[in-house]
């Protein structure tokens, strides 16, 4: 009984803990950074001579993939440390990484499709890079569905940690496939494009002006801020669920 009261008090303490100042600052910087990088890419940098306006989608398309890379990378870190130490916080980080990473990779996939229509003359083609990106999204969507289907907390956390670590293979395949499989029409921005590549453009200094800040934002601030919010939320939801058991369970 005494333990229950102590636990309930601890849960209420978690629940009423104020948002860390650093997280508030990060959130505001991220929001302003997002606005600023969009303004750079959409209004400041010049229009591409060959592709026209649609090339500006690049300033979101590529950075969003790297944002997903960071988020899914944190899922691996969370999974490995959870398996080693069995601390719930790391499992929450892994879960948050998947949610945020999935949103970012969907942005990457859909903006790519929208870009492809006026440049490749098609919404979709079963190109190795596009196919691997789609498989990556489905793999992480399956993570969320599987997680919701396992009742036992311990088993769920352990199983999903392993899943999250293994799923990262799809991210690496998506990242490197255009350098391994030459039969791709997806261009490479850094380095020589494959022979069949279509729709690349010259990364001039104007492109770099908009790309680098955007890449930095999506790679670091956006995933970290969103994951932090999600981790805090998950901790509170778990605390609430424990409170529910204590109050309703008598």
């Amino acid at each position: 009984m005494g333990d229950n009261r102590k636990s309930a008090a601890e849960d209420l303490r978690i629940d009423s803990s104020p948002q860390p100042r650093l997280l508030r600052i990060l959130t505001i910087i991220t929001a302003l950074g997002f606005a600023g990088t969009l303004a750079l890419g959409f209004a400041v940098v010049g229009t591409d001579i060959q592709q026209g306006e649609i090339q500006r989608i690049f300033y979101i398309h590529m950075p969003s993939f790297f944002g997903a890379f960071t988020a899914f990378g944190l899922t691996v870190v969370g999974g490995v440390i959870y398996l080693a130490r069995k601390r719930e916080t790391w499992d929450r980080i892994a879960l948050a990484g998947v949610e945020v990473g999935l949103a970012f990779s969907l942005i990457n996939l859909l903006t790519g499709s929208i870009w492809a229509r006026p440049i490749w003359n098609t919404w979709w083609t079963w190109d190795p890079r596009l196919t691997s990106a789609a498989i990556m999204c489905l793999t992480y969507a399956a993570y969320l569905m599987l997680r919701a289907g396992i009742d036992d907390k311990g088993k769920r956390r352990a199983f999903m940690s392993v899943y999250g670590i293994l799923a990262f293979v799809t991210v690496l395949i998506t990242l490197f496939i255009i350098r391994i499989v030459p039969e791709t029409i997806h261009p490479v921005i850094v380095g020589a494009s494959p022979q069949n590549a279509q729709g690349s453009f010259e990364a001039t200094s104007g492109v770099a002006t908009a790309l680098l800040p955007s890449l930095l934002l999506w790679l670091t601030l956006m995933p970290i801020t969103l994951i932090w919010h999600r981790v805090r939320l998950e901790a509170r939801i778990e605390a609430l669920n424990r409170l529910k058991l204590q109050v309703l369970g008598g």
């Binding site: 629940d15 929001a31 969009l38 592709q51 026209g52 006026p118 003359n121 939320l233 939801i237």
Partner: protein
């Protein structure tokens, strides 16, 4: 200001700003008319006679006796497609090319071919395999007084923004000229970009750099219309395949980004709100229990 409010306000602000920008750009972009087919798009050349059909873009400039044509041909390889297309334009079988090269452009590997069809007909073609078909962009000149050649050459390195080294290569390979026989006559800014111009006795050359490649136009015989031909050719090449005025796709892309990020942030907010409601209910139940 709360973080969620900051994000919401930023997203709303961005929607309104970018909407305005795109609307303005929509109007500006519509000024370039394009030939559009299921396979490609090319700019319609102003001042040229438009002889295009449903799936062939063809423009003729009578005073220069020149034709620029873009079409797709069913062929097993790019060179065979180029020769089939040349035969379709000239009505004669294509001879052996007098110049042949490959260049890796942004949209793939193109074959660059030059043919001296007969005494008065010269053709410069670029061809690229695209699935079962070959895209061919052709320049054909039927002028006994001039021989105009239009080439794309990959730069040996990316160190120079002047096409002079490639002009020298082309002049020697095509016209048997040394660059020293031509004198630099300055730079000329055309719709397709800035060109360096060389002139000599009975010959002229122009070149522009775009990316890692140089575009070279060489005319031997009766120079005079080289700038017009070079500019039209390069506008066709650089504008090839692009859906004109594609700002609506950009707006769609931006909308997708905002919807996905909005859903993510909104779901965090929504779950937090539900949690608070549940917590309030639990507290109420606990008080009633006491």
């Amino acid at each position: 200001m709360k973080p969620f409010s900051a994000i919401s306000c930023t997203v709303l602000l961005l929607v309104s700003i970018t909407g305005g920008i795109l609307k303005a750009e929509d109007g500006e972009g519509a000024s370039t008319p394009y030939f559009q087919s299921y396979a490609f798009n090319v700019p319609i050349l102003a001042g040229w006679d438009d002889q295009s059909t449903d799936d062939i873009a063809q423009f003729q400039l009578a005073e220069a006796r020149a034709t620029i044509r873009t079409a797709t041909v069913a062929a097993s390889d790019a060179v065979a497609g180029a020769e089939a297309e040349l035969a379709a334009i000239t009505g004669a079988a294509a001879p052996q090319p007098s110049y042949r090269d490959k260049v890796n452009l942004a949209d793939g590997t193109w074959h660059v071919l030059v043919y001296d069809v007969d005494d008065e007909t010269t053709a410069s073609l670029m061809a690229r395999q695209a699935g079962a078909r070959v895209v061919v962009i052709s320049f054909v000149e039927r002028d006994p007084a001039a021989r105009t050649t239009l080439l794309t050459l990959a730069q040996a390195d990316d160190s120079h923004d002047d096409a002079s080294p490639e002009i020298a290569l082309a002049a020697e390979a095509i016209g048997g000229l040394a660059l020293s026989e031509l004198a630099e006559a300055g730079r000329e800014t055309l719709a397709s970009g800035e060109w360096v111009v060389y002139t000599g006795e009975g010959a002229a050359a122009m070149g522009m750099v775009f990316g890692n490649d140089s575009y070279v136009a060489l005319q031997v015989g009766a120079p005079g219309d080289l700038a017009v031909l070079a500019d039209a050719w390069n506008r066709t090449l650089l504008g090839f395949f692009i859906t004109p005025d594609n700002s609506r796709y950009l707006a769609l892309g931006l909308a997708v980004v905002i919807v996905i990020l909005g859903t993510l942030v909104g779901s965090l907010y929504w779950r937090e709100r539900n949690r608070r409601k549940d917590l309030a209910l639990l507290e109420q139940l606990a008080q009633e229990g006491d």
